[in-house]
Structures are given as structure tokens and as C-alpha cells.
């Protein structure tokens, strides 16, 4: 630690993955995350790691399945349309209880959409990145430094709970340059990945990585066992930042780069005497339900701000459960909300202070 680098978010992501023991990266070009692959292609050959440009997003995620099944820390990255293509593989990885890290640098959709920043893949990330009953750990950094800090968390949690972890970033974070400090490079922990398909060496029974269970009650039980692990994740791994919330009457809720815009608006509101605060989920799954429910007890109202037509707002409303009003402000399609726009929404809620 100590030395600061001025770095683009996408490059910082790649460096952080390597420093956390990821020696196998499988990618496919797509804007706005291509610098991740470019950085990996530059560094991996020099350190004995694997960078492979796959023939498709589908192939890339399946290469991750193969590598991670063999017990190594493996990663792929993409942006919205490419993440959709990966969803089949993500479902298999979840159903096979294999850990890995996936990065989504979100851009506007649906379809080919655009290449500007967006948060419109929140539902996909937190509810349904593939078919079947499963969850991902979803981490939503707000700064380039936080991307770096959360990369180790993502790999560690994926290994600990044997499930995929997703870093949910956006085009703004991927493309912006900020000063960052990196942790010392470390090897992937030599933990007991006794499930890994590394060859029996004639010393044990074969390991099988599999998601197929033709007996319905057996499949049900594997899913129940997995969901018991998800409960542990919910209890132990919620991460959230509360900013100026102690005496706040108007609580904003935002994640990722949007939260930085909203933080600015909260400061502007405070300067005008409005008691505003911000709750910033850092894990969007597991979602900081309790923090929000508690804040709703004393808040006059909540304002959710997203770069989408309103997706996380539904989780906020479930957490609030009628304790206070929840309103929404969003820009979408690649348009980033301005602090002034958010301030205007805060003022509307505060009422009479304009």
C-alpha cells in the first residue's frame, strides 16, 4: 500500500483481480469494458497467467466454469448485452456450486442499447442472471478505489460460499480515471477446494462438478441446501454506507456511480438547511433491508435514484414496507442524473423549503 496510481476503472479492476490471485481471465471485447481484456492481455503472459480471448461471451463464461472447477480463481468481464449471453453459463456455475467472479460494466439497454453508463441490469444481476432458483453475490462499487477494494472481497466471498460473485459497475466507473492504491499481490489462498477436478492422482474417488439431478426431490434438496448458504450470506455479508443519516428526514437511496451524484445533492440540500441523508448499498445482493427498514422508521420520506426506469426502488419499497413514502427519480438510456436534478427531487419531498 501507499503508492498511488492514476488509473482507469477498467484497468484498476484487472490489476486488482491479479493482485487477488486471479491468474485465469477469459474475455470477449465489448464497450465499455474492453480495457479489462486489454490490460489482462498485457500482463498475464508476463506473470505466467492465462489471458484468453474467447470466440464468444458464451465460450468465455464456460471457460471460467472449466477453470474454476479445477480450483483456480477465474474471472470474466463484459458489458450488458454480453452478460445476457453469459447467463446460461452463470446458471450452470451457480448450480454446480463453483466460485468465480464476473464483472458487468453496465451500459444502456435493452437490445444493443447504447454505450453510455446505465444501471438497468439491476434486476438481471440481483433477481435472474440465468434460469432456475439461485443468487449471486452482487457488489456495487462507487469509486475506482472501491472497485479495487471489493475485488478481493468478491473472490473471497465466492470461495467461502462456493458461488459466483458479480461486480456490478457502470460505464462511468469503467471509463473514469481516479487515483488508486492497491493491496500487495497475494496468491490465491491454498484453501481446501476438495471439490476441484484436479485429477484423482489415484488417491481419492472422482470429483464430479455437475448441476443435473433427475430425481426431483434430490434436486429440491440441493437447492434447499444452497439457499441455506444464501441465508448465511444474507446474515453475514451485507455491506452498506450511511451518509448523513443520523438526523435525516429525507433519506436518499442510490448505489454505484449514481450514489456519488446523489451525495453531492445531499450536501447541497444540507447547505440549504434540508436534513437529507444517503443510504448506499454496497452489496445489492444481499440487500441492506434492515438498514433501510430502520431508517424508514424515522424518515419523512425516501427518494431512490437510479440510472434506470426504477429497479432497485422495488427492493427499497419491500424493505420500507409502508413505513414511509418512497419516491423515485431516474435517468436512463445512458443519461446520468445531475446533482441539481436530484436536489430538486429532494426539495419536492422536503416540501415548502423551496
Amino acid at each position: 500500500m501507499g503508492q498511488k496510481f492514476l488509473m482507469k476503472g477498467n484497468e484498476a479492476i484487472a490489476e486488482a483481480a491479479i493482485r487477488n490471485g486471479c491468474m485465469h481471465f477469459f474475455g470477449y471485447p465489448i464497450t465499455p469494458q474492453t480495457e479489462v481484456s486489454a490490460y489482462m492481455s498485457k500482463v498475464m503472459p508476463k506473470i505466467g497467467g492465462t489471458f484468453l480471448q474467447a470466440e464468444s461471451e458464451i465460450a468465455a463464461i464456460n471457460m471460467v466454469l472449466g477453470a474454476a472447477s479445477c480450483g483456480v480463481r477465474a474471472m470474466t468481464s463484459s458489458s450488458s448485452p454480453g452478460i445476457s449471453l453469459k447467463s446460461e453459463g452463470v446458471s450452470y456455475i451457480a448450480g454446480s456450486d463453483v466460485p468465480c467472479v464476473i464483472l458487468n460494466v453496465m451500459r444502456g439497454g435493452p437490445g444493443l442499447g447504447g454505450i453510455q453508463p446505465s444501471q438497468a441490469d439491476y434486476w438481471q444481476a440481483t433477481k435472474a442472471l440465468g434460469h432456475g432458483d439461485f443468487q449471486l453475490i452482487v457488489l456495487a462499487p462507487a469509486t475506482v478505489q472501491e472497485i479495487v477494494d471489493l475485488m478481493g472481497t468478491a473472490f473471497d466471498l465466492a470461495d467461502q460460499y462456493r458461488m459466483p460473485a458479480l461486480i456490478l459497475a457502470d460505464g462511468m466507473l469503467g471509463q473514469m480515471m481516479e487515483p488508486v492504491e492497491f493491496p500487495e499481490k497475494k496468491e490465491a489462498p491454498a484453501g481446501a477446494k476438495d471439490y476441484a477436478t484436479t485429477g484423482t492422482q489415484g488417491k481419492r474417488k472422482p470429483n464430479i462438478i455437475n448441476s443435473l439431478y433427475l430425481q426431483a426431490p434430490v434436486l429440491e434438496q440441493t437447492i434447499r441446501d444452497r439457499f441455506a448458504r444464501y441465508e448465511q450470506v444474507k446474515q453475514n455479508e451485507v455491506r452498506v454506507e450511511e451518509y448523513a443519516c443520523d438526523d435525516a428526514e429525507i433519506i436518499t437511496v442510490a448505489y454505484g456511480a449514481t450514489a456519488r451524484v446523489v451525495k453531492g445533492a445531499v450536501d447541497m440540500a444540507r447547505a440549504e438547511g434540508i436534513k437529507a441523508g444517503l443510504i448506499r448499498p454496497i452489496t445489492v445482493w444481499p440487500f441492506p433491508t434492515e438498514t433501510i427498514a430502520k431508517a424508514a422508521e424515522k424518515a419523512r420520506g425516501m427518494l431512490v435514484v437510479e440510472m434506470s426506469m426504477g429497479q432497485m426502488v422495488e427492493d427499497v419499497r419491500l424493505a420500507v414496507n409502508g413505513r414511509c413514502g418512497v419516491s423515485f427519480f431516474g435517468r436512463t438510456g445512458g443519461v446520468v442524473p445531475s446533482p441539481a436534478e436530484v436536489l430538486a427531487e429532494i426539495k419536492k419531498l422536503a416540501g415548502g423549503t423551496n
Binding site: 484468453l52 465460450a59 464456460n62 466454469l65 472449466g66 472447477s69 484436479t198 464430479i208
Partner: protein
């Protein structure tokens, strides 16, 4: 006289395959080859989606079950993670030559040092007998009830010939297992394919013309006859690429 016994390359699980299906023979050959080469302890197999999906219960080595068609990509990840492992896929024609064509072609052109066992029985077995990319012109299946009309459904694809054109392919041979001489040739080909990987020569594939009596609607003996009379003329047996001396790079 040598004792006839089961290979240690297979587990004790009972095959689910239909009577007369040649999957069992090919499984045994792959198991015998792994045993004879002494690689069971470092072998990692990748099972497909299709009739062989439960191959992970049959091969006596570490196994990964892949999404439909993605076995070569999964195998690529496994081999890159641990190059000391001997990594093979076992795939049917729908898996390898339809939904997984891109993964097959690109693993091959990368010269990925893996071995592919490709079962070509000209039909989708597991889902109940639909047209495969390898279904012959005029062949009746559930989804070509009037026979495969090539003007609508296209032509049957010859994978070994196509893959042989790629620089990354060290070895591509088409064999069958319909009689004893051919079983022996098939085993030799499978052994050569694994040997190529052991020596780091590049991508190796053995295509095995196989029977599917159930979905062809034929008795096992008739199925063998049908394969010889109809499949071999369209899919000639033989070696289509051999760079096992020098390797592909």
C-alpha cells in the same frame, strides 16, 4: 490366455444406454485407453448434454458436466487452469456440430491441447429422435417426418473433414464400432488422440459413427446394417488430419 475383465477406466455404475446403442462400446474403449496410458489419475472428462450427459457417472476420473455444446470451452478452461491434466470431452452430434459448433471450431483452431470424442449417430437421441446436423438427406426423424429435405433443412455436415482444414488440429479421424475389426481401429484412434495430447501436439478428435436403434426405429442388427449402408458412404471412414509427428505449433 488373458483374463477378460472390466476396465478400471469405468466405474461400476450401470449404463442407462438403450440395447444396441454403441455408446457403451465407445465408453469402454475410452476407459481402456485411459487405463492403458496410465492417465486415469490426471484425467478430467467433460460430459455433454445429450445421451451421454451422465458420462460423469461412468468414467472413473474427475468429471465436469458442461452446458449444451460448451464442452470444448469448459475443457479449454480446465486445461488452461491445469495443463498437467489430460482433458477430454465426450459429445454427440447435436452438442458438437449444432449448438456447440463455435466452441468446437475455435477450440480446434486454437490448437487447444485437448481430446474430443465425437459420437455421430445422425440423430438427437436424448430428446427422442429429432433431426441432427448429421442427419442424412431423406432420413426420417421426428422433426423431418417426410425425410430430411435438404432444400429446407440443409445438408448433413461432415465435421472431421471440416476440422481437418484447421491449422490447430493435430489429429482427426473417423471410425466406427459396428464390428470387431472396426472396434480395434477405433481403439487405436482413441489411443492416438490421447497420446497426441500427452505429447502436447494440439487438438485431437475422433469421430465415431454410432448406432441409435431406438430412434432409428430399427433392431440392433438392422441398425448396424443401416449404418454401414447409409452413413459410411456419406461419412467415409479414415484419417483426415495427422500432425502428430511435429505437432501443430
Amino acid at each position: 490366455m488373458a483374463e477378460f475383465k472390466k476396465t478400471s477406466g469405468l466405474t461400476d455404475a450401470v449404463f442407462h444406454y438403450c440395447p444396441g446403442c454403441t455408446h457403451g462400446i465407445v465408453h469402454r474403449l475410452v476407459g481402456e485407453v485411459m487405463e492403458e496410458l496410465g492417465i486415469l489419475g490426471k484425467a478430467v472428462g467433460v460430459a455433454p448434454v445429450g445421451c451421454a450427459v451422465m458420462a460423469y457417472d461412468y468414467f472413473n476420473c474427475d468429471m465436469i458436466q458442461a452446458p449444451h455444446g460448451r464442452a470444448p470451452a469448459v475443457a479449454t478452461g480446465a486445461k488452461r487452469a491445469n495443463p498437467a491434466n489430460i482433458v477430454f470431452t465426450y459429445q454427440g452430434d447435436g452438442d458438437l456440430a449444432a449448438i456447440g459448433t463455435a466452441e468446437t471450431v475455435h477450440a480446434a483452431t486454437r490448437g487447444e491441447n485437448i481430446t474430443v470424442i465425437f459420437i455421430n449417430n445422425a440423430i438427437y437421441g436424448m430428446t427422442g429422435g429429432q433431426m441432427a446436423p448429421t442427419t442424412l438427406a431423406g432420413q426420417v426423424t421426428q422433426t423431418t417426418p417426410y425425410g430430411r429435405d435438404v432444400t429446407r433443412a440443409g445438408f448433413p455436415i461432415r465435421m472431421s473433414e471440416m476440422l481437418a482444414t484447421l491449422d490447430g488440429v493435430a489429429y482427426a479421424e473417423r471410425v466406427t464400432v459396428v464390428d470387431v475389426p472396426n472396434v480395434r481401429k477405433a481403439k487405436a484412434a482413441i489411443k492416438k488422440a490421447f497420446q497426441a495430447q500427452l505429447e502436447g501436439k494440439g487438438f485431437s478428435i475422433v469421430e465415431v459413427l454410432s448406432t441409435c436403434p431406438t430412434n432409428w426405429g430399427l433392431a440392433p442388427v438392422e441398425a448396424v446394417k443401416w449404418l454401414k449402408e447409409n452413413m459410411i458412404p456419406h461419412y467415409p471412414l479414415g484419417c483426415y488430419q495427422d500432425r502428430t509427428e511435429k505437432g501443430v505449433f
